[in-house]
């Protein structure tokens, strides 16, 4: 990809932008109203990222309480029902509050800059889709203070646990999920519209940065499956309050149907939480390898085929519900098939690094850790896809180990890598490389201390979602808890690093990283409030 604009032409345009901005007073508004009324993609991206970080710390503190209870056998800190509320809230907050809004925030900030668009295609809807989220999560969190109990049935809210036996606050949970769904759908529509309609002239789809590619596929997945989640919670609402029997066997319904509908949403959802991370890796690894991304086209097709396959494997989450043998075989092989496009991606990243001029700044450290640890999570996923093995592993800590390996060093490390990678672009300052390195090593060691022993616990038969356990699991649980406290505490260092970088630091030039390619690096750091008001031309 060659950008025609020379830097001097860019500077000229920036000056023109600046002049225009002064004429029409298009700079950011002052005070709180800037953030409430903003339609600027950079402001909204910032809001999304801060919101997600808040939720990350909140959901993380719940994880700390869970690990504190599990530090030794026996019940010491809390009642089992409160433990169940914590596991439920931790899952919901991390999935819908931390990971998803962080990716939407990154998309908001970076996609217009990467494709040469002046802003998102639907700026007002953008504002709306963000500002729904604080309300949704206030409603969800308010259930913790309600009489009775907060939702205590796990983030998967299986019926009839959440319908017949769910606490009264479940109805608030349903409303919150609806709001989160609406927000995600609007965010996804906005991203699709931006990528399809606002690309700079000359930027064909196959010249697009890979981050935009992974995000548009994610956005299509969101548009397709968030309404299914909305349907599932609507049916729950009707079962609970309007006397229907979608999931009640007594009235002719079927509780297993809930699991089918939920996982029809839930499986694409896990790819929603990882595909943007794949995109981030495909930006960072070439930069710090000082090479072009190996196999761009195959990356695009691999991402697309993961997206398509994700709709055809949902029942591997429910092998133990009883299924004809051909059903089990189909879902087993279809699940294993996903390893093929994922393998293509992993090999492409390794090939990109091969014989590259590698340097290991913090984003690259996170990227390499992602590569290794996500692959491990993928392998334990392959183990779980084997039906007879799954009968043994189902609902044990092995599953907990598996999905935390793909979500924490997968999705979360992806987000952290992206923040370090683009933070100098956003703030105009370099972060402290020493502190970044310390944060990385504490996180990487903490993550492995926390989740690696969980594999052993699961294989030894420790069930998930329990506040107490048999004595033989004590040692590994203690290691996991110590790792969790280490990982949790090191995120406060991350917060400190980000704030410190916003407030000052070494000045970053337009092209922050030596090997970085792409339109976002042609803009100053930080970029002007309104960028690319005249689209750049790409040849």
């Amino acid at each position: 990809m060659k950008i025609v604009n020379s830097s001097s032409a860019m500077a000229l345009e920036d000056e023109r932008d600046l002049a225009g901005a002064q004429e029409h007073s298009h700079g950011p508004a002052k005070g709180l109203s800037r953030w409430i009324l903003t339609t600027n993609h950079k402001d909204i991206g910032t809001l999304y990222l801060w919101f997600s970080f808040t939720m990350f710390l909140l959901g993380g503190s719940m994880a700390m309480m869970i690990r504190a209870e599990l530090f030794k056998p026996g019940l010491q800190l809390m009642e089992p029902n409160f433990f169940n509320q914590l596991t439920t809230m931790h899952g919901l907050i991390m999935v819908f509050g931390a990971v998803m809004p962080a990716f939407v925030g990154l998309a908001n900030w970076m996609i217009p800059l990467m494709i040469g668009a002046p802003d998102m295609a639907l700026p007002r809807m953008n504002n709306w889709s963000f500002w729904i989220l604080p309300f949704a999560f206030s409603i969800l969190l308010s259930t913790l203070f309600m009489p009775g109990s907060a939702p205590n049935f796990g983030w998967t809210f299986y019926a009839p646990l959440s319908t017949t036996y769910g606490p009264k606050s479940t109805d608030f949970f349903i409303v919150a999920i609806h709001l989160m769904g609406i927000s995600s759908i609007m965010g996804a529509i906005n991203i699709i519209a931006t990528i399809l309609n606002l690309r700079a002239p000359g930027m064909t789809l196959m010249k697009m940065p890979i981050f935009a590619w992974t995000w548009i596929i994610t956005a299509f997945l969101l548009v397709a499956v968030m309404p299914v989640l909305a349907g599932a919670v609507t049916m729950m609402l009707m079962d609970r309050n309007f006397g229907t029997s979608f999931f009640s066997a007594a009235g002719g319904g079927d509780p297993v149907l809930f699991q089918h509908i939920f996982w029809f949403f839930g499986h694409p959802e896990v790819y929603i939480m990882i595909l943007p991370s794949f995109g981030i890796m495909s930006e960072i690894i070439p930069t710090f390898s000082r090479k072009k991304l190996f196999g761009y086209t195959s990356m695009v097709y691999a991402t697309a085929s993961i997206g398509v396959l994700s709709f055809a494997v949902w029942a591997h989450h429910m092998f133990t519900t009883g299924m004809p043998i051909w059903g089990e075989l189909y879902f087993m092989f279809a699940t294993m098939l996903i390893a093929v496009p994922t393998g293509v991606k992993v090999f492409n990243w390794v090939a990109t690094m091969f014989k590259g001029a590698l340097t290991f700044e913090t984003p690259m450290l996170f990227a390499v850790a992602f590569l290794v640890l996500f692959t491990m999570g993928g392998f334990s996923g392959l183990m779980l896809s084997i039906v007879p093995a799954d009968f043994q592993y189902h609902d044990t800590y092995f599953v907990v180990a598996h999905f935390h390996y793909v979500l924490v060093p997968g999705a979360i490390f992806g987000i952290m890598a992206a923040v370090y990678y683009w933070l100098p672009k956003w703030t105009g300052h370099y972060y402290s490389e020493t502190l970044g390195n310390i944060h990385f090593w504490l996180s990487a060691i903490g993550v492995n201390l926390t989740f690696f022993p969980m594999h052993f616990l699961g294989l030894a038969g420790m069930p998930r979602r329990i506040p107490d356990y048999a004595l033989q699991f004590a040692d590994f649980n203690r290691i996991a808890s110590i790792g969790a406290f280490m990982f949790g505490a090191s995120q406060l260092l991350f917060l400190y690093i980000v704030i410190k970088t916003i407030r000052g630091g070494a000045k970053a030039p337009a092209c922050v990283w030596e090997g970085a390619k792409g339109l976002e690096w042609t803009l100053s750091s930080p970029p002007p409030y309104h960028s690319f008001t005249t689209p750049p031309r790409i040849e």
Partner: protein, 222 residues
């Protein structure tokens, strides 16, 4: 801007379609279960049509010599305060022949109770070969305070049942649907028993009448 508007309209239509699709999954799932026997679901909406000649349709000798053990299992869902005892724990059944058994049920409370039995068959794949002429699971059963009843089940196994099936379990779970049927909180209240139509619960208020005809028992006790 027009281009964006068109795209947004299309995407919103996709969203609405997928919302509708999630509800369409309910009948799709039921049809799928009926065809494949997934989850051992049995069609309880109407009785099967039993024809005597079916017994002779296939090679009679092989059917005569073949006996399949049908086990009867019954569970009460949480908090259902009634007693239920199957007449037989198991029967040896010849495919194609009509069999009969019954369940003793007693309301242990001093309140009116409506129960609904939900059948499930294991292995699920043979569910479609078990047909019922008469079953207390076709409708919900109303029980007066402390009332006991003998509930009839008449069924046969289709002669086409796979050769490798020698044993199957018919399991019932009893649900207390009193609240569902007589609920005052109903929003969709349209008539005297609106819920019955809405959630497809049929209440059999008159059990004795259904039992008037004594069934012919072909099967052997085990």
């Amino acid at each position: 801007m027009n281009k964006t508007r068109q795209l947004v309209i299309k995407l919103v239509l996709v969203v609405l379609f997928m919302f509708g699709f999630s509800f369409a999954l309910v009948p799709l799932y039921n049809v799928f279960c009926k065809v494949t026997g997934l989850n051992g679901k049995v069609d309880t909406s109407h009785p099967g049509v039993y024809s005597r000649y079916k017994t002779n349709a296939n090679n009679e000798d092989s059917q005569v010599t073949r006996l399949i053990t049908v086990e009867f299992d019954v569970n009460r869902n949480q908090k259902v305060a009634c007693e239920i005892i199957p007449q037989h724990l198991a029967l040896q059944v010849r495919p194609g022949e009509l069999n009969s058994t019954s369940y003793y049920v007693k309301n242990l409370t001093d309140k009116k109770m409506v129960i609904q039995a939900i059948p499930s068959i294991s292995p699920g794949i043979v569910a479609k070969y078990l047909k019922k002429l008469e079953c207390f699971c076709f409708t919900a059963q109303a029980l007066k305070p402390y009332e006991s009843q003998q509930l009839t089940l008449r069924f046969w196994l289709e002669p086409e049942i796979p050769d490798n099936v020698h044993r199957l379990t018919l399991s019932y779970t009893l649900f207390d649907v009193t609240a569902l049927v007589y609920s005052k909180r109903m929003i969709f209240r349209l008539g005297a028993k609106p819920l019955a139509t809405f959630v497809s619960i049929k209440v059999n208020e008159d059990c004795e009448k259904a039992q008037a005809t004594t069934p012919k028992i072909h099967s052997r006790r085990v």
